[in-house]
Amino acid sequence: MSAEQETLAKIDEQVKNNPVVLYMKGTPQMPSCGFSSRTAAALVETGEKFAFVNVLADPGIYEFLPKYQDWPTFPQLYIDGELQGGCDITLELAASGELKSMMTAANAKVAS
């Protein structure tokens, strides 16, 4: 397997094994980008559990994640295995209250 295939397989596993996963620059506590910072804050605000991957700490993911779902920028939010979007979409979902209910539903699915 090429480095690209291996990384894409790893991403696929992360996305499928975590009900909510955020790929971001930095961490929710120490974000390295304004867009990642806002997105992580919106997720924290829901009080729901989520996983995150710091793309700056993994050069392979940083390079190949944009190819995974044809989404060229970070952050990227996946809920229940599906790309939801980046910062703008996450904030829209948070404002409408959809974000919390989507996260609750995805987390409940795994718990049951």
Partner: protein
Amino acid sequence: MTMQQQIEDQVKQMLTPIYMRVDNESHMHAGPAADSHFKLVLVSPAFEGLARVKRHQCVYKALAAQMTHIHALALHTYSPKEWQDSQTIPTSPLCASRRN
């Protein structure tokens, strides 16, 4: 041609917007790149009935050549009807590294 013009031309051609606004927000960010951060507000009939994630993917596809050069593109996409009902366009964040 500036990056801003490239974005405008490309979007006009590919997505036939009824309203478009491109803001260069590079001054809000750290680093030397003057053409690095943009905000795009777009109203297009092509977005009617499309989920937000698909709309953004359409825009990224139209701007594939430009996306390799720019660092961030804030996107606010509306169908004509949503645009009529909408109140405000959200503001973009400053770089985390500019806050300190």
